[in-house]
């Protein structure tokens, strides 16, 4: 007498494997259709980021350096002196411009004078200066000095 047991186990194996394939495919489709949240988590969101973020602060920095104090001397000239640094007028003005205007977009802001080879002068308005790979706007004052505006997220 012939037995059907072998055939039944063969068929059930195919049925189970089909179900497994269907479950895997449906869960994958479900996951991908969630779309937005997964893309956000994986950083795959399709939006265009352009590297223009500092164009506008740069313009304000330029105007800041051209501002004249009560004696009619530009901040640029004051800072260019060997001992020149932010003072009560220029420091407070820099805070009003850079922190107030751009503080929401860039929580870490530093502005100050640097000299020589990456030596940043700390100041009482923005604290200790630091070197950064990204996000700095740099204007040379003379051979040895520069001003730097660091805007970081």
């Amino acid at each position: 007498m012939l037995s059907n047991r072998g055939q039944i186990s063969d068929t059930s194996m195919w049925v189970v494997s089909t179900i497994i394939i269907l479950v895997i495919i449906s869960s994958a489709i479900l996951l991908t259709s969630l779309g937005g949240e997964i893309k956000e988590t994986l950083g795959l969101e399709k939006s265009v980021k352009i590297n223009f973020e500092k164009e506008v602060p740069y313009k304000s920095l330029f105007a800041f350096l051209l501002t004249k104090n009560s004696e009619g001397v530009r901040i640029f000239s004051k800072l260019s002196f060997p001992e020149g640094d932010l003072n009560d007028f220029s420091g407070k003005l820099a805070l009003r411009i850079f922190k107030n205007f751009y503080g929401d977009t860039f929580p870490n802001i530093w502005f100050g004078v640097g000299e020589g080879y990456f030596e940043f002068r700390s100041n009482e308005y923005f604290g200790v200066g630091y070197q950064t790979q990204f996000g700095s706007i740099f204007i040379k004052l003379n051979e040895n000095k520069w001003v730097e505006l660091i805007l970081e997220n």
């Binding site: 939006s47 223009f52 051209l66």
Partner: protein, 167 residues
């Protein structure tokens, strides 16, 4: 039996291929949302227009009066709000731009021109409420006039264009 198995194999193969194609299409088929970039570029263009080397240019302020107004802003700043003829875009207006000139020290617009508002004003109220709403960006710049008087320029731009940027 072999025939049945090969039919089954092909069915599974097509099922898996179809599913992969479908998943890739829904995952990557979304359009790029460039509205953030577009509103940012609008702001940069206005900032360029209002600040040349830190000063208000002659076409904006002649030393005594502000020459910029609602009628000439787009021409002066080399902008156009004309869009492609798609889904009634031109009729609705896809852009909004607001430029406000303030005295930097007093933050007062006294004796200064009123805020310049151009485009579809409704976009302003719907700013950044979600994906299917207009994208907006605001910026502030510090600028001087020829007499070294400081001003604060507030810029707000909004871009709609939902149909081509969001599914």
């Amino acid at each position: 039996m072999d025939k049945i198995i090969s039919i089954y194999w092909f069915t599974v193969l097509f099922l898996i291929t179809g599913a992969i194609v479908y998943m890739v299409a829904i995952f990557y088929g979304e359009p790029f949302d460039v509205r953030d970039a577009e509103s940012h570029l609008l702001n940069v263009q206005i900032a360029d227009c209002f600040s040349r080397g830190g000063y208000l240019p002659q076409v904006i302020f002649d030393g005594e009066n502000f020459l910029i107004n609602r009628e000439n802003l787009l021409d002066t700043c080399k902008l156009s709000f004309v869009t492609e003829d798609f889904s009634n875009w031109n009729e609705q207006g896809q852009y909004y731009l607001e430029v406000e000139i303030l005295d930097f020290d007093t933050k007062s617009p006294f004796e200064l021109p009123p805020p310049i508002r151009i485009g579809n004003f409704n976009l302003r109220e719907l700013c950044n409420l979600g994906k299917r709403f207009p994208k907006c960006e605001s910026q502030k710049i510090y600028v001087l006039d020829k007499n070294n008087f400081p001003y604060q320029i507030n810029i707000l731009s909004a871009v709609r264009k939902v149909e081509k940027n969001v599914i």
